[in-house]
Symmetry: C2
């Protein structure tokens, strides 16, 4: 019987290895050669699963986004409660999420010079902002959100605070602590419920 | 008469070239070889001015920070007015400042795996946060700032919004526009003046 190769598992293993290389040594450490060596593949074999480094990076980035989504349990939730859950869960509030921020930082950097990755990121941002808008609208319908600040501005504020928190917990975590990040969100939510 | 070489000018020229390489092609484009070629130097000559790539990156980063400081005219100013000037001027509110954000993004990334650069960044953040604290204290003394939100939280919020704006104007500028960034600051300042 021929040996059955689980290709999805191999792809997933390659992403594991790339994740570790990026979070430990930065993008410079995650060369195709290093990834292949750490995954136990010949360079040529690696290319069967991911034709280019860009493809590996993209898959690794998708795992980072997937991790963030996993934390969020939004079924059954709507409006202000769903908004709070989404905002809190997508912040770098524990070690795993802080590590995921490293992958995000790498991806941002690469997307600046790579139209395909840039497109991927815009898609993600569009969908994330769409979800934030939806919960704000529901919260206003429910009478929980009454602030006069326009939704577009609120959505953008969440996005900036989140991106800033991802950066700062990596590069200056002794100042921008998890406790402070939680307080920003609390005062943001307090503002939503005041005219 | 021997030819007089202006070493500062040469160093500055090398930083110019590195700046352009980073903002146009990302950190991958800014190799020692590329920098030397673009600056019109032999590889060995480049090392007389900057022993390692890390040194060039650090000098380029210092220029980005210097640019931000240049925009801010704080002499004669104090308290709320100085705080507003500092916050607005350090946001990515024009093309040059958005480009400076690219250098910052590169630097953040490199600082994750480089203790010397990390130390440099922490120094910068400490001094920036110190200035924000000082203006908040003065603003409270002057009776202009009356919010109950603690200063530590306000300082951190400015830092996160600023870092987030630097990232988002690069990677998703069509959503996080300069107009929105200005509105975030306005609503932040409106909050400072309310109990």
């Amino acid at each position: 019987m021929p040996k059955i190769i689980d290709h999805d598992e191999r792809r997933s293993h390659i992403v594991d290895v790339t994740w570790d290389l990026i979070t430990q040594g930065g993008i410079e450490a995650a060369t195709m050669r290093e990834i292949a060596a750490a995954a136990g593949f010949a360079n040529g074999a690696l290319k069967l699963y991911f034709p280019s480094k860009e493809d590996i990076i993209q898959a690794t980035y998708e795992r980072a986004l997937g991790m963030m989504r996993e934390y969020v349990e939004l079924d059954e939730l709507r409006g202000l409660v769903a908004l709070r859950e989404l905002c809190v869960s997508s912040m770098p509030i524990d070690e795993d999420r802080i590590a995921a921020g490293r992958v995000l930082l790498t991806f941002w950097q690469l997307s600046l010079t790579n139209p395909k990755l840039q497109h991927k990121y815009l898609e993600h941002i569009r969908s994330w902002r769409g979800l934030l808008h939806r919960y704000l609208t529901e919260g206003r319908e429910d009478g929980d959100i009454v602030t006069e600040t326009p939704d577009e501005q609120l959505v953008d504020e969440v996005v900036l605070i989140n991106a800033g928190a991802n950066v700062m917990s990596l590069v200056a975590g002794e100042f921008s602590t998890i406790a402070l990040q939680r307080r920003h969100l609390e005062s943001f939510f307090a503002r939503l419920t005041r005219p």
